[in-house]
Structure formats: structure tokens, C-alpha cells
Symmetry: C2
Subunit: 235 residues, 2 copies
Amino acid sequence: MSRKGQIDGIALASGGLDSSTVLAIAVSEGHRPLPLTFSYGQKHSIEIESARAVARSLDLPEPLVLSLPFGEIGGSALLGDGAIPEEPALGATSREGIPSTYVPARNLVFLSVAVATAESRGVRDIWIGVNALDFSGYPDCRPEFLDAFFKAAERGTREGSTSSEPWWRLRAPLVELTKAEIIQRGTELGLDHSLTISCYDPDPAGRACGRCDSCGLRRRGFEEAQVADPTFYRQ
Amino acid sequence: MSRKGQIDGIALASGGLDSSTVLAIAVSEGHRPLPLTFSYGQKHSIEIESARAVARSLDLPEPLVLSLPFGEIGGSALLGDGAIPEEPALGATSREGIPSTYVPARNLVFLSVAVATAESRGVRDIWIGVNALDFSGYPDCRPEFLDAFFKAAERGTREGSTSSEPWWRLRAPLVELTKAEIIQRGTELGLDHSLTISCYDPDPAGRACGRCDSCGLRRRGFEEAQVADPTFYRQ
């Protein structure tokens, strides 16, 4: 971790467009969150390198990279090395519009670890890049989940349970933005979008597949934002 | 994992008295939870061997042992290799009676990973050994935290958010028991207490120190229960 200054929060940092924009916003508001990046058996582990490059470009501390055992937990097309794992009791791979890339309880786990890290470091701001688009698909990105989660965090931590006012502060500055608006915001703040990676299936050099959902969202976002897309798509 | 039968839940299993008694109770009620054991840099990692031995003795599947990065998160006397880590923003090492062995947000993380594992396996019962004694010290063992946590889990998971009734079931059969009552209950069910380990600082052979809080609780529990204590205490 950088010794240049005290951190004042924890930011989930995946190296993608959303969390990188959150970091840029936090910095522009005078904050200095510690980027928290997870290695969890995701196919697109090159995103960890992106998270590092983005943090460096914003003069933030080196991300804290923590390993989580989602590979052994299983249950998502984002994990393992190919096929969508069997989900005997869950029925179809998509239920009521939840994408098969849903990772069971991922944000519940990510936020829990972020809270643990924040409590251990004595800071209370938790930055996360959830936004209007996520809400349509992933249950663990919805505001009602986030509210409930932070209520639990208040009760289940030393700081939260002994503080006379709410201790934890959710910082979700993208909450009402579309992908195009997120890209515009990043551009305004000078975020180098070429450092970010969105693809679920990049090649070893980090080049985007151009075919997955996430590439599609990114591509359309840049088009709609009328910002030049620096991404190299393999197709 | 054992192939002998389908699991029907997930049980947090630390190899200690409480979680081992929970396993015995679950089995006595006809359940077959998958024991979930965490390796998280705890000093007393020999407890993982205890969890395995207890599961075997109850004819349960081999515990799923998952690694969690609490060592890198820090902030508790249970972690690291000796001294209580500095907690600059937390003030004293004990606040309002919370023991220094409190691990930041540990049960928030443990339960989140248990929910992720349960969702991935298509089961909904989460067994945990919280009890009357824990409530007095650890914020993340209190019923108000557990209630809030499961509300968040309902909203933040595929099963919870698409089910027409509450999906997750908290199973906390020790919730109103003292240590002595837990020991009596285990004895009634034929649990082999000699397989369990409570000590925070066992020697390499797994022998209890006899001095830590946890050894003290265990010792007094056996005395009060008027059950012979099979534990070898170094002093």
C-alpha cells in the first residue's frame, strides 16, 4: 500500500468501467479510498492488472488483492473453465431475467469482506460501482439489497454496534447512471478508459472478445456517449 | 464430499464444541448438512482437523474447507502470529466489552460465504452454533444481527429475490443454551467431545493451553454440566 497518505475508505475495484469511474469520482471529491480487488477464479483475472493500472493512474494506493474461494463454491458461468455448472435445485440457468453470469451471493461476500477490511483499517466509507443497468439483472446490485446489507453491517460489527449514529457509509455515485453517462463522467474526469477492461473472456494479452454481454454493453455505451472507444475488440 | 447422500443444508463447522453440537443435533433431526470450515490464518488451524474428525464421527460429508483472507484483512488477536494488531482508529483493544478476539465482521463474511455455497448447491438451511454466551460479547452473534443478515440475504440472492416465501432458513439450535447445556446436549446425542477443540492457542499436537478464554469457558462448562472433560490441558 502506498505510504503517501492515509486512506479514508474502501472501494471495490474490478478494473472495469464502473468501479474505475467510482475511483475517479472519489479522487475528484478529495477522497482516498483503498482499492479492494478480488481474485476469485474468474475467467477474466486480467482485470486485476487493470485495477492496478487504474489505481496507479489516479495516484491511489496499490489495490489490496484478496483471494476468495468462489471457484470452490461454484455456480456461475463466470467461474470454472467453460461450461455453466449444473444447478440441480435452481432449475434453468436463467431465472426471471437473472443472467447466467450471476455469481451466487457475490456482492454479499464482496461487501462483507469490504466491511471487514474497512473495520480493520478504521475507515467507514464503502465505494461501489452499482448502477441503473445492474439493477435490471443482478439481485445483489439492487438498492433494496444494499440498504438491507448495510443494516446488517451496522448490527454485526464493533463500530456499527457501538456507534451512536450509523457508522457505515455506502458510496454509490453511479447509482442512477446509464453506461453512456458513466463513460461521459469518466471522460470529464480524465479517466484513461484504455486501462479498464470489461470483457468476460479476454485473450491472454487482455484483448476483449467483442462478443460477450459485457463487451456489448461497453461498445454501445461508448457509441451512445459519443466518446471514442479505445478498446481493441477481437471481433 | 461424500457421495453417500444428498446434503440438505450448510453448517458452519469450526471443530469447536458449539458447531460440533449443532452438527450432532442436525443429524439427530434427520438432516444432512455439508460442514463448511474456514481456513483464515487463525492461530488454531488445528481446528480444521477437529472439524474433519467430528464430521466423520457423525457420518457426514467431508467438510468443505474454504480459505478466507482474514490474515491480510487483519485486526484481531486471533490472527497473525502473536501481538494484537494495532487498531489506530478503533481506540482501545476492547470496546464496550467486545473481546480483543473479535475478528472484524467475521460472521458477516462467514455467513455470506455459507449463503453463496448454499445457493450454489441448491439448499436453504444455514446451521450456526451461536448461543447465549456469544451474545454477551460478539456483535456478530446477536439475534438482531442474524435477523438483519438474513433479510439482506433474501434480497441479495437469486433464490431469495425470486421466491414467493422467505427462502433462507437460519438454524441456530443452541441459541438459548449455556455452555453447560450445550455440553449436556452433546453428551445425550453421543457426540465424542474428545474430537472437538476449543483452545485459541493449542500446541502442534492439538493440546489445549488451559489458559485462554475459550479453554476457561470449556472447562467451566464441563464442570457445570457435571460431565467428565476429556480435554488434555497443558496447564
